[in-house]
Symmetry: C2
Subunit: 328 residues, 2 copies
Amino acid sequence: MKIAILGLGAVGKGVTEMVASKDLGISITGIADSKSGCIDSSGLNTKSILVKKQKKGFCGDKALSAEDVIKKADYDVLVEVTPTNATTGEPGLSYIRQALKRKKHVVTSNKGPLALAYKELQTLAKKNGVALRFEATVGGAIPIFHTLEHGLAGNEILAIFGVLNGTCNYILTRMADEGLTYEQALLEAREMGYAEADPTYDVQGIDAAIKLVILANTIWGDGVKLDDVNRTGIDLLTPDALKLAEEEDCTIRLIAEAIPKKKLLRVAPRIIEKSHPLVVEGTLNAITIETDMAKEITLIGKGAGSIETASAIIGDLLYIRDRYVERA
Amino acid sequence: MKIAILGLGAVGKGVTEMVASKDLGISITGIADSKSGCIDSSGLNTKSILVKKQKKGFCGDKALSAEDVIKKADYDVLVEVTPTNATTGEPGLSYIRQALKRKKHVVTSNKGPLALAYKELQTLAKKNGVALRFEATVGGAIPIFHTLEHGLAGNEILAIFGVLNGTCNYILTRMADEGLTYEQALLEAREMGYAEADPTYDVQGIDAAIKLVILANTIWGDGVKLDDVNRTGIDLLTPDALKLAEEEDCTIRLIAEAIPKKKLLRVAPRIIEKSHPLVVEGTLNAITIETDMAKEITLIGKGAGSIETASAIIGDLLYIRDRYVERA
């Protein structure tokens, strides 16, 4: 199976390295970053490409764009791992559309296009007889979509509850454990590299809400959008609130929850018993799925990281390989 | 797709009810308990069968045996859910062999045959071009095998750690929370219906060890057997041990662990930090998988129960339906 990779940040680099080092029957025939591209239908020399990227800041031929790679490279699956833009979904949204129209499978870690245009993209994929997979968009290495699709097949999904943002969870863990103020914990998260210079996207629950929208659309197909999520961040939480929770053997976590029967779609800090499986520490993510037969199933794992995210993307690639490409 | 069900205890009853009530495209054409059987290639009336079972203690025609159902019924998949015998694997082992030889797929919740003859049965299934699936044997409703097969595809599995026995976990939870002695907690577990009259199989770690053997064989295919597991039960634990753990913000759990690189295959009570994802309460099960890419992924869920186990079996059935039967 041949793949082309768009985006050579932490995730693209992780995927490139893992595909090159593991014997998965996958060759990389196209790569593009924001400045350049490389195409070789017999398989690229990924080692020299990654060295060039690190030394020069771009990976290939400046005469080749991402669009060129999409249109001209010889591949079965496009791996779209450019940065997320939650407002426009671009450039990922256009890249995904173009690849699907070329009847190419797409695997993406890009939350923007999925949250903004889930239905449109799935319809486009179906029309062209190809797969659009996005395990890496929610929960990092946690295989939540595979679990919903296979492990819990036949179950009716009644509700979903998630700790979907590692930055917020780190801040809340540090506030609870060390009695830090929100500002102190945020500063520490920045120093550790867990929070951006502008933390709005994380601490106001936007990132968690986007992931909730992707989950809800996948499970219930009800076309919800980011604006439909009732959202409260963690930026107004005080150490006192955490102390009060502690007195009841509880703590506070930013919980994203979707309960269709209650028409509930919310991201908010919630008081939760410390012994509850969703109460994870530090930058971990956790997702509880409530179903009619299996009841509550919780998955916990690393919500971010180059290689961890590559794990989710490779799971999608191998699924497409076994299910579509080898059968063709 | 047509299925035949052997065994009409809690699990068999759960599967029958769920298959009958959900629109899964599955019809039940054979059922047998230990005393009788029913066969109807156009689909059995499961409602009247379950009523008869409850009223009379047997489900069908006493002239028909489980073997008759295996040999004469018209089905794609045999659902083998007779009681586990850890020493001989019977009668399940023979039933599974017969069905595989008839080129029928098999889905089972029966740990005995898998722990005793994993390699033989998988070889037999392969030779006959059919699937042998057993999601329900480990972790109840937790889709551990689906996760290993799909969600973590491409990962190297480095180690596995599990809380695999709900009875032990209930006893340990109660000893820690209430300061009960082992004997008091066991008595309570019996009263709650979580422990058998003879609790040896659970409290000495045999049940957890059998599950560990099935996991190890599935992941690493190294043909380990129950005798290879270094095993210590919870029956000698004192409340003092739990108190000491508590002082370090830890607790004690019966952990089943397999680490091939250390040649470690062990079931034993272990001191573990309370905040570790494996520390679950009551009768819950939990499994942590350590891999090269995803790092640590933990799954938590109900380890037993009629409908919860049916969830695992139905996941296997739908996988076979989509992967084998509909393609044929």
